[in-house]
């Protein structure tokens, strides 16, 4: 980046150390990565691992959709199908969506956003990553050793006594991954509590950190319960514990209570980071201060808290009492309210802004559409009598894919594109990136919207085959799957190309004001060359001005800001 003056007077450029030493080139070799304590490298390793797991889980999905394009067993028999949908779910939930944003993006961005040199416990962070790898290995062993056909939900008594598949291996893998998640949560909580810079109280933090914090709270409180549940399952299966087995006086529905006590908050582990990313992107690409900061921040905590009390809405038809179902339904609506609040605040942020349609924003707008549908369709499922109809049908499948893929994955890609210049020091090509996002959007809707129709028609889920009347919408859905595949391959290609032939990324291509944009792209090993600047308001975007010559935003000195203020804009 040049330090010569540009069109705007009195701009300051950060000093560029020469040679350009940064966290990527400061050391090399496999060991310097696999045993690094640098949160940025750990984030990248997670990113690569998660992409690989996504590819594997996606392969299973494509196989499923290909089989389901037509009625009858076409390319696989029922047993293989049952394994495919189980492994698709388990891999996507445990190896992709739950870690995704916190592990890959959070690890990289969180300390820098705090002006810190690393997370509170760097060795614990590395250990989290190693646990992820071990957990992934257990899943590979599951695959190679006979597969898994219980559904990712492992319901008893099928999983404890009616299948010969590698249940114990898979469950141990998930157990280990749970610890990876817990340790990340502990790390983030402590870092945010104890390593904020001077002047950054909780209500001066960027909203991304609020999202990470709320997620960490859930990770810490909910995941241990999954751990003990899976342990109970493994012991019941191998040693006849008897808690879930009716023959020994146990209750199979008890498993569902334990399982969903974690797995419902888990879906908020999945979506809160996504919402956190969206808050950043919408503000920056509307060139406006975020609207309703306090409400968005508190809504994250509200979602995290209320999310612990609604698990029974997965069990309205399980045989649980009407009274319990009523309570769970009522509280479920309480979680819908903070989500709605966020959407309205984001839209108001865009009002009278300057909307810049670059790739991160395109993904974010896609998020609004897709999470909108996903969240709204949740209302049918939280309502008790419509849920009786929709439970265990394709309507549910469509709903959760809209929120987990349309929501979390879309936000994940938005975040990847947003922080890509910072992480890699390269710029991706804008037009192909936008096309890739739009192709994915079309593909996703063609793939999943018809599944609402299938649900309306009464088609149950986890069906290897179906009655002929469902075939039309299944065929359409499969076509959508291939379109989505094309879009995602375009995304991958676009990102990889940027690494080989992308332009050099400026320090602040987007004109954001959070601290990571106050350091070079990519950052040095210790994140900041000198002490990080005073954090200030993370959404004071008018501290940056567009410089056409360098095609980037440059920091305006205080006097410039004062000038802008006096010239008639509203107070900062």
């Amino acid at each position: 980046m040049s330090s010569t003056t540009t069109a705007t007077p009195t701009t300051t450029q950060p000093h560029q150390s020469a040679p350009e030493e940064n966290y990527l080139n400061c050391s090399s070799g496999f060991l310097s990565w696999f045993f690094t304590l640098d949160h940025k490298r750990i984030g990248i390793m997670y990113l690569v691992a998660i992409f690989a797991a996504f590819g594997l889980g996606g392969f299973f999905a494509l196989a499923l959709r290909t089989e389901l394009a037509q009625a009858g067993q076409d390319i696989m028999d029922m047993n293989v199908y049952n394994q495919m949908f189980t492994l698709h779910g388990a891999i996507m939930v445990f190896l992709v969506i739950i870690p995704s944003i916190p592990a890959a993006l959070g690890n990289f961005v969180l300390p820098i956003m705090l002006g810190a040199k690393d997370v509170a416990f760097p060795r614990l962070n590395l250990f989290s990553f190693h646990l992820y790898v071990v957990g992934a290995i257990f899943f590979v062993l599951t695959l190679m050793g006979g597969g898994l056909d219980t559904g990712w939900t492992f319901y008893t008594p099928y999983s404890t006594g009616h299948t010969d598949t590698m249940v114990t291996t898979a469950v141990l893998g998930a157990f280990i991954l749970g610890f990876s998640s817990i340790f990340t949560g502990i790390n983030f909580m402590v870092t945010i509590h104890k390593m904020r810079p001077q002047g950054m109280g909780f209500f001066n933090m960027p909203l991304f950190l609020w999202g990470m914090y709320a997620t960490a709270v859930i990770q810490v409180l909910a995941t241990p319960v999954l751990g003990i549940t899976l342990l109970m399952l493994a012991i019941e299966r191998n040693f006849g514990l008897g808690i879930f087995d009716p023959a020994l006086g146990g209750d199979p529905v008890l498993f569902q209570h334990f399982f969903w006590f974690y797995s419902h908050p888990a879906v908020y582990i999945m979506i809160l980071p996504g919402m956190a990313v969206i808050s950043e992107i919408i503000s920056v690409f509307s060139r406006k201060h975020i609207f309703g900061y306090k409400f968005i921040a508190i809504s994250s905590i509200a979602i995290a808290l209320f999310g612990f009390f609604v698990w029974g809405h997965h069990m309205f038809t399980s045989g649980q009492s009407t009274a319990m179902s009523t309570i769970f339904s009522a509280i479920t609506f309480s979680v819908a309210v903070p989500s709605a609040i966020k959407i309205f605040n984001w839209m108001t942020t865009m009002y009278k802004g300057e909307i810049i349609l670059k790739a991160p924003m395109v993904w974010a707008l896609g998020f609004l559409w897709l999470f909108g549908i996903g969240g709204l369709t949740g209302l049918f499922l939280g309502t008790m009598n419509t849920d009786v109809y929709y439970h265990d049908t394709y309507f549910v499948v469509a709903h959760f894919h809209y929120v987990m893929v349309g929501g979390t994955l879309w936000a994940f890609f938005g975040g990847i594109y947003y922080w890509w210049p910072k992480i890699t020091g390269k710029m991706y090509e804008e037009k192909p990136a936008i096309i890739a996002s739009l192709v994915s959007l079309v593909g996703f809707n063609v793939l999943f919207f018809p599944q609402f129709f299938l649900g309306n028609m009464g088609m149950p889920r986890r069906y290897a085959d179906y009655l002929p009347k469902y075939e039309f919408w299944h065929l359409v859905s499969t076509i959508g799957a291939y379109i989505l595949l094309a879009g995602l391959l375009m995304v991958l290609w676009n990102l990889i190309r940027s690494l080989t032939s992308g332009g050099k990324a400026p320090q602040n291509p987007w004109g954001a004001n959070t601290l990571e944009w106050h350091t070079p792209s990519p950052p040095p090993h210790t994140n900041f060359e000198a002490d990080p600047p005073y954090a200030g308001d993370p959404y004071a975007l008018d501290h940056w001005a567009w410089d056409p010559e360098t095609q980037s935003y440059v920091h305006i000195a205080a006097s410039e800001q004062e000038l802008a203020r006096v010239e008639g804009h509203d107070a900062l």
Binding site: M232, L241, G249, D251
Partner: protein, 288 residues
């Protein structure tokens, strides 16, 4: 520039191309600004970890509560198989170890290296004592055949007798008492001949048949017992490793009045392990 810095960042002085001159205190990690921040972070970290441990055990306590509410007779019957004496001794052992753990922290705060090492060592010894007693209890269960779940095959001798809902005693003991009352040459206490042993054995079986039927689902009590105490035992063993590691570091003189976080955190973990046992003991052993 190395990115694999370890706990003692002595090499980090040249590792950071800051351009500053830092006084790198080997007991202050490079990403912390002060000892206070480092200690506070560690303290919060261990507390959050302990919360996760409580939640981890809570699943089992929950399963216990549900089971006991639905099958109270099973618990009233089956808890007699547990030896309250050993349970009580173990409780005392752990309480003592908690005391020495806290004392170790105090020693570290005062810079008393000898006291620190001594207290850590005693804590470890108590932990071994606890595991020893657990071993005695578990092997006794194995010999009596009262193992969890599908492996529950109690020997007639060891079965608990209930008559009209009242606890009578262990079959073998009751058999012996009654036989001694009926046959004057059968001693009430002390050694027995092979023939007398056989008689006791047969009579026990008869008593078991005559007594109230054993409640269904008794195996599940033992499943819960072994799972909860077993998981707790795993945590005790993990604690032994952790405290021993801290002990070794203390011997190497790594702790000062300003830097003793590891001692504090490990002691906190140990207090939780103790606390969990304080709950387990009455819930499993003292049912009445």
């Amino acid at each position: 520039m190395s990115s694999t810095s370890t706990a003692a960042p002595a090499d980090s002085a040249e590792a950071h191309g800051h351009g500053h001159d830092h006084h790198h205190d080997p007991t202050l990690a490079h990403h912390f600004d002060s000892h206070e921040q480092q200690f506070d972070a560690g303290k919060l970290g261990i507390w959050v970890f302990l919360v996760t441990e409580i939640l981890f055990f809570s699943g089992l306590f929950c399963a216990y509560a549900i089971w006991r509410a639905n099958h109270p007779e099973v618990f009233h019957y089956a808890h007699h198989y547990l030896d309250t004496k050993w349970g009580a001794i173990n409780t005392v052992v752990l309480l003592v170890s908690s005391l020495t753990a806290a004392w170790a922290v105090r020693s570290a705060q005062l810079g008393d290296q000898k006291g620190l090492q001594r207290n850590l060592l005693i804590t470890i010894l108590c932990a071994f004592g606890f595991m020893g007693i657990k071993t005695i209890e578990y092997t006794a269960k194995y010999h009596h055949g009262t193992l969890p779940g599908a492996n529950f095959h109690p020997h007639a001798d060891s079965m608990i007798l209930i008559e009209d809902g009242e606890f009578v005693g262990v079959a073998k003991d009751v058999a012996r008492q009654e036989l001694a009352a009926m046959y004057p040459d059968m001693p009430a206490e002390g050694e027995l001949t092979a023939g007398q042993e056989e008689a006791v054995h047969l009579y026990s079986a008869k008593l078991v048949e005559q007594a109230d039927p054993v409640p269904d689902s008794v195996p599940v009590f033992f499943s819960i017992y072994f799972f909860m105490t077993g998981l707790h035992g795993v945590h005790v063993v993990a604690g032994i490793f952790a405290i021993f590691w801290v002990y070794l570091r203390a011997r190497r003189g790594e702790f000062t009045k300003k830097y003793f976080g590891a001692v504090d955190y490990v002691a906190l973990y140990w207090h939780l392990v103790d606390l969990i046992w304080i709950y387990l003991f009455p819930l499993l052993y003292l049912i009445s």
